[in-house]
Symmetry: none
Subunit: 245 residues, 2 copies
Amino acid sequence: MREVLAEAAFELFLERGYEQTTVDDIVARAGVGRRSFFRYFPSKEDAVFPDHERCLADMTQFLAAAEYAADPVAAVCDAARLVLRMYAADPEFSVQRYRLTREVPGLRTYELSVVRRYERTLAGYLHGRYAGRPDGVLRADVIAAAVVAAHNNALRSWLRSGGEGDAETAVDHALGLVLDVWGSATTTATTPTCDTAAATADDTSGGSAIGGGAQGDDDVVVLVTRRGTPMWRVVQRIEAALEPR
Amino acid sequence: MREVLAEAAFELFLERGYEQTTVDDIVARAGVGRRSFFRYFPSKEDAVFPDHERCLADMTQFLAAAEYAADPVAAVCDAARLVLRMYAADPEFSVQRYRLTREVPGLRTYELSVVRRYERTLAGYLHGRYAGRPDGVLRADVIAAAVVAAHNNALRSWLRSGGEGDAETAVDHALGLVLDVWGSATTTATTPTCDTAAATADDTSGGSAIGGGAQGDDDVVVLVTRRGTPMWRVVQRIEAALEPR
């Protein structure tokens, strides 16, 4: 029923314009009573963004499960990707809604509120992870805002292009800028130029290489990595190298 | 006249509550006609935030004059300080308004829109400064969001405290976190070198040793560790080595 109402609403918004469509028009198109609409949506705006509540709940659940993730910044980046996936699941609808939102000030304001709620959800997780750390709350707020801005930069480029190209790759790239800067292993964004010359492993794509000698606790493991490599990736590589072989 | 109206409005909001105060109440208190109100303010919300339009204009003007500032990130931090100064110029009013805004959803939404306009103003300046640079728009958007988040973290702490302490110092400290990470002092890195390929593995006590060459984005970090070293210690060492020196 919820989907039927959201679809009817969106059809009418595109046909007649958002302001010209009333809730009565929507329920007439959907073939239900007026009270059904307000059982599912608190307002007309909510029918335009029917999936954000579920996505916010998914994000909260994801972050609760990521309590002990190695890199808290990587965890919030992964959480932000849930939003992208929601948009990418239905490109045509997402692009049409983006265009509608550009035209209707009330929808832009609504969208701002939703974006703020995502940001507060990410910041809340980081508050917990940085608890007791000097400037923990400040750092959490700044990183959450940076993650949201990077995600939305890529998402909006994709929406503006009409849904062309691979949105996930674009968002990964954008979040990479934040991870490079704020991820636990790094100080600034990088464009690697020199090779990991002495690396004993043959991986040149990921930015780090690990070599190990004979097995045993006294073995020496040599990790060669660029300064810009995110900590989660370094840990991943070390863990792989240290696994019993 | 504008100030008389804003003061009358605010008095009434505090006395009766925001929702319970009509524009008619405000003009009656100010002793003017209804049309005068709408000559100065498009809506009741605008009367709560009478100075943002001027502050946005000041910010735009400031950034236009900062076109050739050495460090674009320092320039947007300075621009953000204009907002703080507006709040700090009248602590009592700012604190009362903050409390009112927390209670009235419509005012919170209005505030989000204003914050977004500041952010777009800062981002617009950075777009120009980073034009032609790879990921220039992405970088601009992320830095503008980080500056706004840092500024607002400090501003809101100060407002929550009832306007106690030195707001300027708090904002300086918060913006310092962004400047440290994004300011040109940290992004103009030294020439990348590959001369750290040989590990400086002289640490024999803790189980791991880290060597790094000149500071810069493309530095290679070499970690030598025994296979039995706990992961937390490896991460600790890497983090220490990667901290800005």
